[in-house]
């Protein structure tokens, strides 16, 4: 069995677990945590799948997803804390 198939399956199983927590999660923070974990695992999935299909150029997409994941989560947290996207006055 190809080693990248195993790695892809492992990452996919973890993504399913994160999705279950995102659906169950009692608070919004649980859901954000699960979404963050899902995003990190998406980066890994793209990287591993790129190697699996013999096209490592997909790593560029993985870098982009890592950036988007971080930015999106910080934006979401600001939104949940200030109920808008936090002007400078609110942060002081």
């Amino acid at each position: 069995m190809n080693m990248f198939v195993v790695a892809t399956l492992g990452v996919l199983i973890t993504m399913v677990f994160a999705l279950v927590r995102a659906f169950l999660g009692p608070t919004v923070y649980d859901r954000v945590l699960a979404a963050n974990m899902f995003g990190t695992k998406t980066v890994l999935l793209i990287a591993v799948a790129g190697f699996l299909t013999g096209r490592p150029e997909w790593l560029d997409l993985a870098i982009l997803y890592a950036l988007m994941n971080f930015t999106g989560m910080i934006a979401l947290l600001r939104f949940s804390k200030f109920a808008n996207l936090a002007s400078d006055e609110q942060l002081k």
Binding site: M3, V6, A7, T14, I74, S80
Partner: protein, 124 residues
């Protein structure tokens, strides 16, 4: 030499997947938000690092390795930051860990009772 490298790649990928899956199980099984964030954030960094290390060992030394190192660096900078921001937001919103509070409350009550009993004993 080539077989040795293949074994190293296998070990790295399997350990990375193992840590990831353990983190996923922790996400589901842990009782409250703070313990869940502990399980998720720690295994996130270690699992990702091991999987990326395995991929880097497989590809050898070229542009792909540089990109893998960039992803690794970025995940290592942002994943703990994101976890910290998330837990801080939850804490500042006053999200309690119910089990912990209950347990420490019970422990405090027992200790107060013991102290009071000791003082009564001294008084008598």
């Amino acid at each position: 030499m080539e077989g040795l490298r293949e074994i190293a790649v296998w070990v790295c990928l399997l350990m990375g997947c193992g840590f990831s899956i353990i983190g996923g199980i922790g996400m589901i099984r842990m009782p409250d938000f703070y313990t869940r964030s502990h399980a998720a954030s720690i295994t996130d960094t270690l699992g990702a690092a091991l999987i990326l290390l395995g991929l880097g060992l497989h590809s050898g030394l070229n542009l792909v390795t540089v990109k893998l190192f960039l992803i690794f660096l970025f995940l290592y900078l942002t994943s703990p930051t994101a976890a910290h921001a998330l837990v801080k937001a939850a804490y500042s919103k006053g999200l309690d860990a119910p089990d912990v509070e209950e347990a420490t409350g019970a422990a405090l009550a027992i200790r107060k009772e013991a102290l009071a009993a000791a003082q009564r004993g001294e008084g008598d």
